[in-house]
Amino acid sequence: MAQITLTVNGKAHAVDVDPQTPLLWVLRDTLGMTGTKYGCGIAQCGACTVHLDGEPTRSCATVVEDVRGRSITTIEGLSADRTHPVQVAWIAEQVPQCGYCQSGMLMTAAELLKRKPKPTDADIDAAIGGHICRCGTYPRIRKAIKSAAAHPSRPAAGGGAK
């Protein structure tokens, strides 16, 4: 079986897997990067969202063969130290509850802000509408995206229990 080379968070990886394997499982099981989540396997919930050449993409419905040589960014690569504006805003607004869907939410929100630095409610609905949060953090997600838009270079808050 031929190896497939893919670039994840700037680093090249050669993997020896069935070429039809969804990218999600290559990230999670083969590369051990578990920040990208499995929620539905049919591109309905968005928990598996990564950036593929900068585009939010459902990794559960993307076979690894098709990402050969392309650049993938996962939640682990969004920032080195939780300082991406959406991460800062997510903490400031205390968005996550269980947190399982949030990697995907953050990846989509980050790309939305890149595309539309001042998103409207309709922009947020259109982008996040492809995601599901069973805990119901939607009002806080909306608030956090607006907060990140208002503070594109806010420093992360420190301190507190770990």
Binding site: Y38, G39, R82, C98
Partner: protein
């Protein structure tokens, strides 16, 4: 949830805990024993022994680790519970780190559900923190040869008198931990006026790891040598494998083993064929290639329609278990100047947390280890122990983060199956449910049907209320038939109706079904809140009384309502009335709305917490849009207000999904839905603006995880009635309902 209360066994070896729990010389460990009811008699009589269970560990450099005995599923216990300890211990929150307790039920009150964590931990954690503080103060007093009364603790240190002397905890802990443990029932607790942490918005400690992918959920556990497994289970509840052929499955690249696992009745598993592979994807592909013939068993003809017929027969005649009987409802109905009848109906619901069920278990020769995203790790431990043939204390269970629980993760089915597969594979195995497995092999919120009759006098005042209910009983499913009390788990929130109606009668009849049922966020309150609060609205409309006015009138007299015979909680009508008033005021009740919009109100008491909600909706061409929900909450003293607010917000959204979107239906003995394309969840564009207001209170704190949910559906349906004049009595609603 009304989960069975777990009590610690009398004397399971505390020394074992010492070995595993109290590590390091500079660990201060405060010993006590608690149960869900707070202090047990047994514990009060036992001499408190230092260093037993570890709530507080202070390193010599002053760092403080606080132990968390409850499971984190997004409800914030990682923060709210250690806040209580840190408060009494008088440490700076910035010094604190939090560590999950070992699964040792002889020391810890494990099990997370019933919105009970804060309520049942409040006093024991305060006592533990205060005892540790007292011992540290005593150690300092001894060092200085002064009376402990002249010393006090502040910010992780003990100071003497006018701060002439000061010793940080790190310098005191070695001596303090050797002192006798004070009588925990007499230890001096802080005056609430001195609280610095409790009642303030403390950022949740689990959140940073949830924004960078570093948080480890059960699904993310990786163990050296680990294999992955999925199980093919009979689609019909109770069905079994008749025969199977694994030839093609074994030919799939990466598949290591195919093994039949038998049913484990104690864990409510039906058995199936496990496919073990070197990746999740290979295991799934292998399962696709299995050829299995099922014995579909006795439930193969069940459907939602047959169940509904059964419900309908049961509620159409008297004879159910009588669970409330005030006055004579039937006579009063006969004499009424107006009689109102209605039938309400709700379907099964699945919990559907975003993280599907999973478990990682390694059964070895002499012991076992498990990583469980579990609300009941002690049950998982028991299940694994039985399957592995080991004593429970040889099973080390690590409780992981959970991608949602909502009651489903109290069960041990996933732990049991993973243990069976690990035992057969002689390797650590991560069992994964696909989303379809999670949807079709769940333990569901019961479907139910309710027939209500109400009587009004000439002034529109309700004089009688008759409620006949039938459902698939949770207690009937979980408890052996000779011990089951099917009504006990189903009538909460209906049998203890708080309204002053002189003639009240409620009857309950369990239906027969093969569908597994379980506690689902707010359990029976999720349905009974909907039914009772909508029917009350019907009485208001029939009597031409404003729905807020009718509620206030029927809650005017301060009363305490208990459900006979065995419910422990008491509804205080004054507190219920207060949340109704607060929600109405904050929502602007009575302010005119444009055509097509409506406002509805509902209130409910569950899990010792009082919640009222006002919903505003817009109805356009049969589509209901919920614009705004205003909630008023009395949960006693609020520990971490922003965290509590998040829980109420979450309960409302969860309730909206059940009201507007999702239903589990049964046909030919199996669930008809599979994934989020046909079991739909509320999405961001459908989520309302939510406002949460707390009633200021010094009362003992109660929970917020579930109580936000029950008033949501009725507030919305009452708002739909206000907007359209149409009364919707079956959830979830559809566009056709309003056509």
């Amino acid at each position: 949830m009304s989960a069975p209360r777990m009590r610690a066994p009398k004397s399971r070896d505390r020394r074992d805990f010492l070995k595993s729990g109290a590590t390091g010389a500079a660990a201060l460990v405060i010993g006590f024993h608690w149960s869900s009811d707070g202090w047990s008699q047994e514990a009060q009589e036992r001499k408190p022994i230092n260093p037993f269970d570890a709530w507080v560990r202070i390193e010599s450099d002053g760092r403080v680790r606080l132990i968390l005995a409850k499971s984190e599923m997004g409800q914030g216990v990682t923060t709210s519970l250690p806040m209580i300890l840190a408060e009494e211990l008088a440490v700076d929150w910035k010094q604190v780190s939090i560590e999950q307790a070992p699964t040792n039920p002889s020391v810890y009150d494990l099990g997370t559900g019933g919105s009970s964590s804060v309520r049942t931990s409040w006093l024991p954690l305060r006592q533990a923190g205060a005892a540790a503080r007292a011992m540290l103060v005593q150690a300092a007093a001894n060092r200085w040869a002064v009376n402990a009364n002249t010393c006090r603790a502040e910010q992780g240190a003990v100071v003497h008198g006018p701060r002439t002397k000061r010793l940080p905890y790190g310098d005191l802990v070695a001596a303090a931990s050797k002192l006798p443990v004070p009588d925990l029932t007499k230890v001096t607790l802080l005056n609430p006026a001195e609280f610095r942490l409790v009642g303030t918005d403390i950022p949740r400690a689990d959140i940073p790891g949830k924004v960078d992918g570093s948080g480890v959920f059960g699904m993310d556990v990786r163990v050296p040598g680990m294999l992955y497994a999925v199980v093919a289970r009979c689609p019909v509840f109770g069905g079994r494998v008749k025969r199977f052929d694994a030839t093609k499955a074994k030919a799939v690249r990466g598949v290591k083993q195919v093994v039949e696992i038998p049913a484990v009745p104690e864990a409510h598993t039906a058995g199936g064929i496990a496919v073990v592979a070197d990746s999740t994807w290979a295991a799934m592909r292998g399962r696709d290639a299995l050829e299995i013939e099922w014995d579909e068993g006795e439930h193969a003809q069940e459907s939602s329609a047959t169940l509904r017929k059964q419900f309908d027969e049961l509620v159409s005649r008297p004879g159910g278990t009588l669970v409330r009987h005030d006055g004579d409802a039937e006579e009063a109905l006969g004499q009424a100047s107006q009689r109102i009848e209605a039938t309400y109906e709700v379907p099964f619901q699945n919990h559907s947390p975003m993280e599907p069920m999973n478990a990682t278990v390694h059964v070895r020769q002499d012991d076992a280890e498990a990583w469980l995203p579990s609300q009941g790790p002690q049950w998982g431990q028991d299940a694994i122990a039985k399957i592995a043939g080991l004593p429970a204390d040889k099973v080390v269970v690590h409780t992981t983060l959970m991608g949602g629980g909502f009651g489903r993760r109290y069960h041990a089915d996933f732990a049991a199956e993973a243990a069976q597969i690990s035992k057969a594979a002689h390797a650590p195995v991560k069992l994964v449910f696909t989303r379809e497995d999670d949807t079709q092999h769940g333990f569901y919120r019961p479907a139910s049907l309710h027939k209500l009759s109400g009587a009004l006098d000439a002034k529109g005042q309700p004089t009688a209320w008759l409620h006949r209910m039938s459902s698939v009983s949770i207690d009937g499913y979980w408890t052996p038939p000779d011990k089951a009390k099917p009504a006990s788990s189903e009538v909460g929130g209906a049998a203890n109706l708080g309204y002053a109606i002189p003639n009240l009668r409620m009857e309950y009849s369990p239906a027969k079904s093969g569908v597994p049922v379980m506690w689902w966020r707010s359990v029976e309150h999720s349905t009974n809140g909907f039914v009772t609060e909508c029917f009350l609205d019907e009485l208001a409309a029939a009597g031409k009384v404003d729905p807020l006015e009718l509620r206030l009138r029927l809650l005017a007299e301060p009363r305490k309502v208990r459900i006979p015979p065995d419910n422990e909680s008491t509804l205080d009508t004054s507190r219920l009335r207060a949340v109704v008033e607060l929600a109405a005021a904050k929502a602007g009740w009575g302010k005119p709305l444009p055509a097509g919009r409506g406002r509805g109100i509902a209130c409910h008491f569950s899990f010792e917490t009082y919640v009222a909600e006002v919903a505003e909706v817009t109805v356009t061409k049969g589509v209901v849009r919920v614009d705004r929900v205003v909630a008023a909450v009395d949960c006693g003293r609020v520990i971490n207000p922003d965290g509590a607010r998040a829980q109420i917000e979450g309960g409302i959204v969860y309730g909206l999904t059940a009201a507007l979107k999702s239903a589990i239906t049964i046909d030919r003995g199996r669930v008809q839905q599979g994934n989020f394309d046909d079991y739909e969840m509320l999405r961001i564009e459908e989520a309302p603006v939510i406002e949460v207001h707390f009633v200021p209170s010094d009362a003992a704190p109660t929970g917020t995880g579930e109580p936000g949910l029950p008033p949501t559906a009725p507030a919305v349906m009452n708002a739909v009635f206000a907007a359209t004049g149409r009364r919707l009595r079956r959830l979830p609603i559809t566009v056709e309902d309003l056509a």
